[in-house]
Amino acid sequence: MHELSLADEVLGIADEAAAAAGAWEVLRVRVGVGWLLQVERQSLAFYLEALRRDYPRLRDTVFELEEEAVRVRCRACGEETAQAGWGFACGACGSRDIEVVAGDLLEVRDMEVRTDDV
């Protein structure tokens, strides 16, 4: 399933960002899971756990998987509204001419790391 390749990408990004920050240990990573992706959060957590032994900096990291709701911007009225289910439409004027602006990504948002520098 694609949760496996997604977990691998998340770990790679977190490790790269930690290295760039001069960190030797990552304590916590916040990951935004877009609702539109239909990612099984349990399955993603399972693969993060399984694959992280390849990354020494991530051995004890807590991954916080936060669901991100879908938001759309309306091309008719310009409003940005949250969506509760499929069949997206503007929450303000009802137009179907919309663009998804949030909830379609799996994003490594930010993290807490431990560094040596003073």
Partner: protein
């Protein structure tokens, strides 16, 4: 934390804001620019295993002439689909993903050399049979086309909404079988519209040829649109 070294151990907050598909999306953007520069229309065909992607192409590729067409076909194993399609007289490259359940932009890019892009109007990508994983991987295509067969049940769009949301066209395949099944056509069409209001839907049969002219017209119109942008 150990006391003596406490002053050396700094906790830091790091903003990252990078997303898991970014590597794929970068390659896809590069592919899309290349296709645009050459005026090539690219379609990404996605369905559950066995919904009839290859059968549909077998029936329609020849009729697209004089358009110059190539096909990239993804499968987890074997060259069987490519061999079936080579009988249609168009260049076909098989991408064997060796376990991966979807095509990625990098796989398309590395097989493009097998396709002569200078002599091309249309590139059709038959994705790996899978309704979930391929939907999130941009291949630089102009449109995704989702296929759902009459044998699969009316609730497919509700169970796999992401692909129905992202695809531009839905093909209801194996229409010839509908009379033999408890197939609720209205429910399927309603479910498609519930997920993707206004979605274009065509009903086709690779067996009897029903609806294939509309599918060919849809492709030709798309190729025309793309070429009008490419002056």
């Amino acid at each position: 934390m150990c006391e003596t070294h406490a002053e050396q151990h700094q906790h830091r907050h790091v903003e990252v804001h990078r997303h898991a598909m970014e590597a794929n999306d970068q390659v896809a953007a590069r592919l899309r620019r290349g296709f645009a520069a050459r005026g090539i229309l690219v379609l990404n065909l996605i369905s559950a295993p066995g919904s009839g992607k290859t059968a549909l192409l077998e029936r329609t590729l020849e009729q697209l002439s004089p358009l110059r067409v190539s096909v990239l076909v993804g499968d987890v194993e074997t060259e069987r689909d490519a061999e079936r399609l080579r009988h249609c007289g168009v260049p076909v490259a098989q991408i064997v993903t060796a376990g991966t359940c979807h095509l990625e932009a990098g796989m398309v890019e590395s097989h493009l050399a097998e396709v002569d892009q200078r002599e091309l109007d249309l590139l059709i990508v038959e994705n790996v049979g899978n309704l979930v994983c391929p939907s999130g991987f941009d291949l630089g295509e102009d449109a995704k086309v989702v296929l759902v067969s009459t044998t699969e049940g009316e609730d497919k769009p509700l169970k796999y909404p992401a692909i129905f949301h992202r695809a531009e066209l839905a093909l209801v395949t194996k229409a010839d079988l509908a009379p033999h099944l408890d197939f609720d056509r209205e429910a399927l069409l309603q479910n498609i519209q519930a997920v993707h209001p206004g979605m274009e839907v065509l009903e086709v049969s690779a067996r009897t040829g029903l609806g294939l002219d509309l599918w060919l017209d849809w492709i030709r119109a798309k190729v025309g649109e793309k070429q009008s942008l490419h002056v």
